[in-house]
Amino acid sequence: MTRRYFIGYFDHEDDILGVSKAVCKAGFSVADVYAPYALHGLDRAIGLAPSKLPWVCFLLGLLGAAFKVWFEFWTTAQDWPINVGGKPWNSLPAFVPVTFEVMVLCAGLSTVFAFFFVSRLWPGKKPRLLDPAVTDDRFALVLEATDATYDPRLLEGIFQQFHVVRVEERVEERKV
């Protein structure tokens, strides 16, 4: 199966934001945008749904907190009760600081790992770059040529409005 990609390179942040908005409006679907740094407002410009990472963070934080409360209860009240200053075995106020820390740890680490997992990043992974320039000073917009409505001339017209530097078409063989 072959896939055809249509790529435009741009020099300025305003241009890449503008062109992303314009092609979305014209009905094309954006495959990806490459930029040397995080662009504010790009997610809205290419119509990405809000990230689901906060939910991962929230649920795993909750899980960490629940686990820690149970663990503290088990260690201090069930398995080996310890008398600390005459307090009851299961003294909740004493559990709060550690529970809080473990919750933050679980939430933080799991968010980072969930992010790596969904963006398929791991040590030793070979980077697939369009062009080394996108790590330095250039922005690239990638569109996939999918169906009959796809029209390269119309696309080039839009690209011209936003001072495109270079246009490229790539055909990729992909093993399915």
């Binding site: 504010h40 407002g41 929230f58 200053g85 106020p93 004493a94």
Partner: protein, 369 residues
Amino acid sequence: MTLAGAVTAAAGLLLAPQRTWANLLLACLFLLGLGLAGIFFVALQYATGAGWSVAFRRVPEAMSAVLPYGAAGLLLVLLLRPSLYSWTESLPGDPAFWFKRLWLNYPFFLLRSAVYLGLWILFSRRIVGLSRRQDRDNDVRFTRSNIRLSVLFIVVFAFTCWLASFDWIMSLEPEWYSTIFGVYNFAGLFSSGLAMILVLAITLERAGPLRGYLTADHLHDLGKLLFAFSTFWMYIWFSQYMLIWYANIPEETNYFVRRLNGFWEPVFILNFLLNWAAPFAVLLHVPAKRSPGMLLKIAWTVLVGRWVDLYLMILPTFAGKLPVFGIWEVGIIAGAAGLFFLVVLRALGQAEIVPGNDPFLEESLHYHN
């Protein structure tokens, strides 16, 4: 509302003097807290060179106009009813209290109060005055001198707010002490102040004057601040509670024992439901922080929570075994609210609603987060 409050207060002074004086103290501290939060917010924006908040800066500026009124009320309470503070009559003779005997003497106490109040009013007048002059003279110089003033004010505020909390609230129970008390009062003061900024800004946006200036992005950031400071309040609350609970020293635990006995306990729990649990649960979600309606509800919750918080700091000393709530409580706080809105609306009318010549205004109007 102000008149009704004044009438209630006058009647209360005759019928239930101790409770009314305590409630007047509460109302004055509430007003002073809102005024201080306003000027502290403005100073924070200047000191950090923040641009986002300029579009609605006139709101916290106007809030600081309430400081002289709160100060006058508080000085009246302190002058006319020193017996609210039991140490004005006698202090325990314990040798451990030597410093308290030195610190808590009535003339020095009044002098300190006057100094705190004077400094706050002086700084707020100056900062707000310079900000308003910029509307006419269009000179960046005013922004520069306000940055210097603001930095100085933040330092002064840190010390005076801390000491004032000790003097006016903590010394109501002179045998009890907690070093974190000043921070605790500051946390409540600032989170209720942010809630009041939200209430005023959203109302002004709906009524017209701020329409087109106040955006969802501004609300989002104010919402984040409210979320953060209500959580900060809970953090400090718990820090104070846990150390006292753990150490279990009678003269310290006495404070919480009194507030956990019998029917005080529901009020005690209500305090952190209103001030933390509700804002935390609701504002965790992004759309809530961008929705004016939801923010308005949460802001009012926090403002009621601030009243409950101050009530729990002050009233248990006077009310005895049962929490009291009636005409004296409602009337006086309603009167204070009326006075507050009267003063703030007048202050808002005295200047342009948006500081048109501020160098950061453009940034604020195009702010995205």
